[in-house]
């Protein structure tokens, strides 16, 4: 964003960017070429920052995926020397250790949630789409936006550092329940690894907080003239509600992880109960350094604080994906989104209810039954707005002229797999059911259907859909379809079967469940899942090749390859510094497709009739 202001007759002098009064004219300087460092590293341009989040998110996606493969290998063929990692375990002849397995699933979850999904959805697409879809030249605070990515750098550093410290990385599960995570004697991963984990998460929290303040301010204050809130594309609504969730829920996790950090480094006793015995070691030995740790804390308190954020985080992972899906379905079905306002209200309802349901993660932790009942009812109520959304997506497709291009395929897959993941969520919320299935593979199947098959498929859809805007080129359609078909089939083969494992009672987070006789007959299913997961992982090569090939050699397209109506397609592809050629004015909503008022099959938001 340019920092120079011209002194138009009625403009107030000395205005900073972001302080412009309506109608203030700002000279647009974009004709000096920035050097590589200024353009790609120290950039304040929202599009570049979005791409930074996109690329780092995809790198961590590959890392988290590799960890998932290692987990699957161990579950299918326990204690068989692991290809690629065998050199780390000479003592056992290459078989990984149980502690290593524990670390793998802990870090798989942590990386996928905090370093892949949240940065991809809010960091990458939030940054890239918000100013473009609301007709603004940039974010409200471009420098704050830049710091938002910079604070991810220490987060990356700490989360990677943990792999190389004594005892390995954190191994208390991605939920880090104390005392397992706070007492060194509890697990090898509770040495320095857990401290790195906490530092990494705190930095991610700071980054998300900066981003969220910026997104909400930008959406509320910088919409183009005529773009009322009820004309916003649903992607923007999803991102805005997500940002509000981050603003109000994330600081609680930050406070909690700081307290856990203090427990670990300064020997405070927030989460250490009185008279605790861990591995037959008395509290005096819990200390780090020479001093004994305080006691009198409550381990259960961490669970409340953690889930107070991490349940809304589940909606942070899915609301933007719902927004992208709504946009993509409408564009490729050539129909307005069915029930726009109910879509907005149901997203808000999901977010609002999301704040009062965290206890459903804790039914087996010990809870007043009356409280459990409250959490159960409020959780089941989330089915209502979710169902409204699903029926509206179906209503959008109904009778549309459906163009089955790659983004559309992935968006339809999101809807269908969100139904599976969402339905299992409803009955899982019932306390008596949950007590049976808690910590079984049913839970694993459920949240992978929502987050992997749901949100990640929506991210794929969004990448295929907005790739032309990012790079001015199309991704290859044939490769995209091959990528979709394989991913869809192998994803379902992988995760659907986990429901059967869960019903059979197979526990999650166990390196060798077959040590128990009752689970031995489940090994063939686990082998099937593992082979499917390997195929699914390998299949992503079609995406990687397509992504990088199309970035440089894809078919060059113009501003609006999909004939979409929303504002981002009015900008050049890729948009330059400052995004638009002129101040846009908006006369209608974002979904006027197949309108009888005009000869073409869509009316851009900027057209006045």
């Amino acid at each position: 964003m340019s920092t120079h202001t011209t002194h138009a007759p009625h403009a107030t002098p000395h205005l900073q960017p972001g302080e412009g009064e309506p109608g203030t004219v700002r000279e647009h300087h974009d004709h000096h070429e920035l050097g590589f460092l200024r353009k790609w590293i120290f950039s304040v341009d929202h599009k570049v920052i979005g791409l930074q989040f996109l690329f780092s998110g995809l790198v961590f996606l590959a890392l988290g995926g590799l960890m998932a493969m290692a987990i699957r290998y161990q579950l299918a063929w326990p204690w068989r020397p692991m290809p690629g990692l065998a050199w780390m375990f000479p003592a056992t002849g290459g078989a990984i250790s149980p502690e290593f397995y524990t670390m793998l699933f802990t870090m798989h979850g942590t990386i996928m949630i905090f370093f892949v999904m949240i940065p991809l959805l809010t960091g990458a697409f939030g940054n890239f789409l918000i100013p473009l879809m609301i007709g603004a030249p940039d974010m409200a605070f471009p420098k704050l936006n830049m710091f938002g990515y910079w604070t991810m750098i220490p987060a990356f550093f700490f989360i990677l550092l943990g792999f190389f410290v004594e005892g390995g990385h954190a191994a208390g599960g991605w939920t880090s329940y104390p005392p397992l995570s706070t007492i060194e004697a509890a697990a090898p991963g509770s040495l320095t690894g857990q401290t790195c984990w906490l530092m990494g998460l705190t930095w991610v929290g700071v980054s998300s907080m900066m981003g969220a303040v910026n997104y909400v301010t930008t959406i509320v204050k910088m919409r183009a003239p005529g773009l009322t809130m009820m004309r916003l594309p649903l992607s923007i609504w999803g991102l805005m509600i997500t940002s509000l969730l981050q603003l109000f829920a994330l600081p609680v996790l930050t406070a909690a992880s700081i307290m856990q950090l203090l427990d670990r480094t300064m020997n405070t006793g927030f989460f250490t109960p009185t008279n605790l015995l861990v591995n037959n070691i008395t509290p005096d030995s819990f200390a780090y350094g020479s001093q004994a740790a305080a006691a009198g804390g409550q381990p259960l308190l961490w669970q409340h604080l953690f889930w107070f954020y991490s349940h809304p985080a589940v909606y942070i992972l899915v609301l933007p994906a719902m927004g992208f899906t709504s946009d993509i379905l409408a564009v490729h079905a050539r129909k307005p989104v069915f029930g726009y306002k109910p879509m907005v209200y149901s997203m808000s309802a999901i977010a609002g209810l999301g704040f009062i349901v965290w206890g459903h993660h804790m039914f087996t932790s010990g809870m007043n039954p009356a409280l459990g009942m409250t959490f159960m009812v409020s959780t089941v109520m989330i089915a209502l707005p979710s169902a409204i959304k699903v029926f509206n997506w179906l209503g959008t497709l109904w009778g549309g002229r459906i163009h089955l291009r790659t983004p559309m395929l992935f968006a339809c897959a999101f809807v269908s797999m969100f139904i599976i993941g969402g339905l299992s969520g409803i009955w899982m919320a019932a306390t008596p059911v949950d007590i049976y299935i808690h910590d079984t593979y049913i839970v694993v199947a459920h949240f992978h259907y929502v987050v992997f098959a749901g949100s990640l498929f929506a991210i794929f859809a969004a990448i295929y859909h907005w790739f032309p805007k990012m790079f001015g080129r199309l991704m290859n359609e044939t490769m995209g379809k091959i990528h979709f078909v394989g991913s869809f089939i192998f994803t379902n083969m992988t995760f659907y079967m986990m429901h059967q494992l869960g019903v059979a009672g197979l526990m999650r987070r166990t390196a060798d469940p077959y040590a128990y006789d009752v689970y031995q007959h489940l090994q063939p299913i686990n082998e099937f899942i593992t082979i499917s997961a390997f195929c699914m992982f390998a299949w992503q090569i079609f995406f990687v090749v397509n992504f990088f090939h199309s970035m440089f050699w894809g078919k060059r397209v113009g501003r609006n390859p999909w004939n979409a109506a929303s504002l981002e397609w009015d900008a050049p592809s890729p948009p330059g510094h400052g995004n638009f050629d002129k101040q846009l004015e908006v006369y209608r909503g974002a979904y006027e497709f197949s309108s009888p008022e005009v000869a073409e099959d869509f009316i851009p938001q900027t057209r006045k009739i």
């Binding site: 910088m222 773009l227 927030f270 002229r401 199309l474 078919k555």
Partner: protein, 212 residues
């Protein structure tokens, strides 16, 4: 249903190339409130939730404890009461500073802001002294849960006050060397909002940690 997509038009430089040199308008769509002010309120919302996490933890731990020491036996309540008074006074001087900035009185702004910075520093100084005495007596955060919660809450509040002092000091330096013109009074008001928030949190903390 037509499932064969329409052909995607090829790149046409006449339509699709960026058009050079158009002025960019920066339209303000929202409620008539400055963007910085809007953002600082959102930021303060996150701060409220952060301290809610800390204070909530304190309440849960204290309610769940079999016994809880009387704060008056362990803390210098009288000195801290005086310190609380200082911080409240500094909120008043901050209001005067913002008011001066609004009318463009740079000299008045410097005077009131300097007073705010001074009183804020006194607060941090007294708190540091309190900490020094406590630590000398062996009352470290690892002694028991009372001290754990005490240091976490007052410590994070102290950091916030220190940040506020530095923020105000930066504005003070700018006012002395560059003069803050009337139309940029918002710079002062944003720091003021943060300062009042920090003050308000302290009133709460003082009440529940020292008095109750």
């Amino acid at each position: 249903m037509n499932i064969s997509p329409a052909a995607i038009p090829a790149y046409d430089p006449k339509v699709d190339a960026p058009k050079p040199h158009h002025p960019i308008y920066d339209y303000d769509s929202g409620p008539p409130v400055n963007r910085g002010k809007f953002a600082i309120w959102l930021f303060l919302a996150t701060e409220i939730m952060f301290f809610t996490g800390l204070i909530g933890t304190y309440i849960v731990l204290r309610m769940g404890a079999a016994t809880w020491p009387d704060p008056a036996d362990r803390l210098a309540v009288d000195i801290t009461a005086l310190n609380t008074f200082f911080l409240i006074v500094s909120s008043a001087t901050m209001v005067k500073g913002v008011e001066r900035a609004m009318v463009g009185d740079n000299g008045g702004l410097i005077k009131w802001l300097a007073l705010t910075v001074l009183i804020g520093s006194i607060f941090v100084g007294i708190q540091a002294y309190e900490y020094a005495v406590l630590i000398k007596d062996g009352n470290l955060p690892n002694v028991d849960i009372f001290w754990s919660t005490f240091y976490a809450m007052t410590g994070f509040h102290g950091i916030h006050v220190a940040v506020g002092v530095i923020w105000n000091l930066c504005i003070l330096i700018a006012a002395i060397f560059r003069k803050i013109p009337q139309e940029k009074y918002m710079k002062v008001e944003l720091a003021g909002l943060y300062w009042h928030f920090v003050d308000l949190v302290w009133v709460l903390l003082f009440t529940i940690v020292y008095l109750m």
